[in-house]
Structures are given as structure tokens and as C-alpha cells.
Amino acid sequence: MILELLNIIIKILAIIVPLLIAVAYLTLAERKVIGSIQRRKGPDVVGVFGLLQPLADGLKLFIKETILPNQSNVLIFVFAPILTFLLSLISWAVIPFNYGMVLVDINVGLLYIFAISSLGVYGIITSGWASNSKYAFLGALRSAAQMVSYEVSIGLIIITVLLFAGSLNLSTIVAAQEYVWYCIPLMPLFIMFFISILAETNRSPFDLPEAEAELVAGYNVEYSAMGFALFFLGEYSNMILMSSVATCLFLGGWLPPMDLFIFNWLPSPFWFGLKISFLLFVFIWVRAAFPRYRYDQLMRLGWKVFLPLSLGFVLLTAGVLLGFNYI
């Protein structure tokens, strides 16, 4: 029994530890990419090419003083960042890295990810409320409204993919893309999904919750040291998670582009990582290239553009699949 327990714990650690390292180096990659887009060098002092910069940042956050504001509701204030971080980690249980290389292969994997990402609102809204500060509260309300509205279109897009694959199991969905990745027949949906996950993870151009110029720092103004670090880790881990979900749904997961010898030469998890890295690069690229949306524009895009479009696509694909007798 102890051995089994140990086995489970080692499996979990084998996902979480590389994930945290990935998060650390994603922050470095972001600064480097934005730096080179803006013709700067980015961090290059700590270590070779700035490779030790994330560690230095982490150490800085770790040794800072944790401040608990007098006005705050301490229990919820402490609990909120932990919840955000926890939720960003537990979704990884169902992500398949290769055929059969997945922690738990459940039948409703896609719904599980959707459910967990809809729980992510709570970390933000409770942190904003518990801080008992105007700026944090306004930021939290904005952020929660934004996440709730874009979840609707994400759900409808997931339904369309589900119609194609005929299963909610992520491994089956990836395996169904053996002949063609879904980003080719479902190109518009892939773009809509990508924009929706930008909004869902509160990244620019939809980073209104922490709009640096308007609200001080959004829902996490009052947080310092590890509380802030947990929010930060949660946000970046969510970015990687959402990229991997997009990869599984549209870019064929671990599958190489074609069943050729040269492509098969690379191991499958490597392809998976390559696709995730590409999507993350686009995340950063979008941040450097686009100005921030206004709040009413953001809501208009979510409710008046994406919702009808994705609903229409559900009906269209269902009709086409039914017409050709593919269901």
C-alpha cells in the first residue's frame, strides 16, 4: 500500500516539478521575446543569457515580507492565492503527453478541465473581496465578469470539437486527429478558441483586471511576497495549461504533422511540447503587438460576436456531420 501511494506521489511530482520549471522559464522567455520585439536585450545579467533570472526573481519573492492588511478578511485572504495555484495544478492530471502517458485517463477529461477552469474565478473574486480595498475589488469584479463571459464561447467551441471526435476523453480526441488536425477543418474556431483563452487567462489584449495604467494592479494589489508569487505562478501555469488544451483539441496533441520517417524520428512528447511552445510564443507576441481592449469592447466581443458565431458553428458542424452520416 505504501509503495502504491509512493508511486502515485512520484507520478504527480513528475508532472508538477517540470511544470514549475516551465513556468519559471516562461517568464524569462516572455521578457526575452518582448525585449527583442522592442529591440532591447531583455534580462542578460544574472547567469549566462539571463538564464538564472527566474531563480533570482523567485528568491526575491520568497524572502520578501508577507503583509496581511489590517482591514482584510485574513482567512480568505490567505486562502485565495492557494486556491488559484491549486486549481492551476490539478487540471494537469488529465492532459495526455503521449499515447497512454497521462496521470488519469478519465472519460470526461475535457469537461473536467472546463469545470476546473470555471472554478478559477473563485480565487480571483475572493482575493478581491477579502483584500477589502477598492482597487482590488474593482479588479476582481472586472476579471470575474470577463472570465465568466468567455467561458460560454469556450464551452460551445468544445462542443463542436466533441462532435467531431465523438468523445470527451482527451486521448481519444487527439487520436481522432490522426489524419487531419482539427485546426484545418475548424480554422475559424481555432482562432476564436485562442482569443477566448487569451481572455480566460486574463492576458493582454484582455488584461483589464490588472490594467497597469488604470487599476493599480487589479485583484492582487494587496498581495506581497508568496501570495503574489502564487497568483503569478497560477496565471502562467494556466497559460501553459490552456495552450496544451488548445494543442490537444486543434493541433493534434502529440501527433507529428505527417506520418513520415523524419517526423516520427522525434519522440511524440517532444511534438507536444513544440506545439505548446508555439502557442505560448503567440501569447507573448500578442502581448507585445496589440493595445489593450476597452471594457465595453471586450464584453461586446464576448457576447455579441463570439457567442453567436460559436453557437452557429455548433449547428453548422452538427448539420454537416449528420448530413454526411459521420456521427
Binding site: 478519465i106 470526461v108 469537461l111 472554478l119 473574486i125 465568466v148
Partner: protein, 208 residues
């Protein structure tokens, strides 16, 4: 003992115990926001119990709909209100008889459902009852989603459509009640802005 069985056997008690405690705290806590948070905890534990019953689709839908959508809006409303700490007073005891009657009716209904639909409790001996309980494992050859889908969309689709129409009517009603049209509001029409001709936007006028 297999660790899976060990965990599952104890998880049931864990979830149901936590669910009862937090359900009591929903009523008992003084701060309304704490009440809503405990309500969310109740929902999460209920989803855990559903997973233990191997109805994982319902559990996920429970999480998405109740926790992800309804409780968020609930929390929104409660947070926006001017929060007053509710004083627990003796008047609550006056509600006790009504609550007891409601609870008895509820228990009676559950008993009727179980006795007629699922497992006849009193007309069978114990061994047969155990045989009846196996019905979850009987249908594992198809997934939850496929099973529910075939049930709802082929056999009971009339009821499904009627339920959706009822929800729709409620939504239209709520919107009609709260709709307030401000006539002198200047709205941004993006189509008009984009389709504006550059040459017509700027004019040169000679002043005499």
C-alpha cells in the same frame, strides 16, 4: 487491501461529513459571503459524492453549472450588497416546526422514490437488495455521456424541449422587466466607423 478501495471507502465519509458540516455553516455563519463560500463547498462535496457513484458526467455538469455559473453570480450579488453581519437570535426557533414539517415531507418523498423506482426496500430480503444495487456496473459498457444523450435526446426529447422553453420564458421575462431604454444615448456602431470612406471624412471648404 488495495489502496484504491481503501481511499474510496473513506472518501465517502470524508465528503459526506464535510458536506453536512458546511451545510450547517451555510445557515450558521454570520457573514453572508462566508455563507455563499460554504454553499460552494457543499456543491463541491456533492460533486465528489457523484464521482464516487461513478456518474462522473453529472458530477462535472454539477461543478460547471452550479459552482462555475450560478454560485459565481450569487457571490457577485452578495458582495455588491451592503453587507451587514446577521445577528442570530432566538426567533429562529419559531421557524423550527415549519422546517421540521418540510424535512418530513422531503424524507417521505425520497422514501417513495427509492421504494418504487430503484430498490423496493421492504418487499425483498437483503440478498436481493444487494443484487439490485449492481445496476451501475451493468451499464458501464457505454459512457455516461452517451447513455444520458441517448436517453434525453431520443426518448425524452419533448420534456427536454419543454424544459428549455420554460427557462427561455423566464429569461425573456427577467429581461423585459429590467429593460430600460435610454433614448439619448450615443452608441458606438463599429460597422459604421469601419465602413466610413476616408475621402468623404475630411472636406475642404472654401470660406468666402
Amino acid at each position: 487491501m488495495n489502496i484504491g478501495h481503501f481511499i474510496i471507502a473513506n472518501l465517502f465519509y470524508f465528503f459526506s461529513f464535510l458536506m453536512l458540516i458546511s451545510a450547517i455553516l451555510v445557515i450558521g455563519s454570520k457573514n453572508p459571503v462566508h455563507s455563499v463560500l460554504f454553499l460552494i463547498l457543499v456543491f463541491c462535496n456533492a460533486a465528489g459524492l457523484l464521482i464516487l457513484l461513478e456518474v462522473e458526467f453529472l458530477a462535472m455538469i454539477f461543478l460547471i453549472v452550479y459552482v462555475g455559473a450560478i454560485a459565481v453570480l450569487f457571490l457577485f450579488v452578495v458582495m455588491m450588497l451592503n453587507i451587514k453581519l446577521i445577528e442570530l437570535n432566538e426567533n429562529l426557533i419559531l421557524y423550527l416546526p415549519i422546517g421540521a414539517i418540510l424535512a418530513l415531507i422531503f424524507l417521505f418523498e425520497i422514501f417513495i422514490i427509492i421504494d418504487t423506482d430503484l430498490i423496493p426496500l421492504f418487499s425483498l430480503n437483503f440478498a436481493d437488495t444487494l443484487n439490485y444495487i449492481k445496476w451501475t456496473s451493468e451499464i458501464t459498457y457505454t459512457t455516461n455521456v452517451a447513455r444520458l444523450g441517448s436517453l434525453i435526446y431520443t426518448h425524452y426529447f419533448f420534456l427536454f424541449i419543454i424544459a428549455s422553453l420554460i427557462l427561455f420564458v423566464a429569461m425573456v421575462g427577467a429581461i423585459m422587466l429590467t429593460l430600460y431604454k435610454n433614448t439619448n444615448l450615443k452608441r458606438q456602431v463599429i460597422y459604421k466607423q469601419i465602413s466610413r470612406d476616408f475621402n468623404k471624412a475630411i472636406k475642404l471648404q472654401y470660406l468666402k
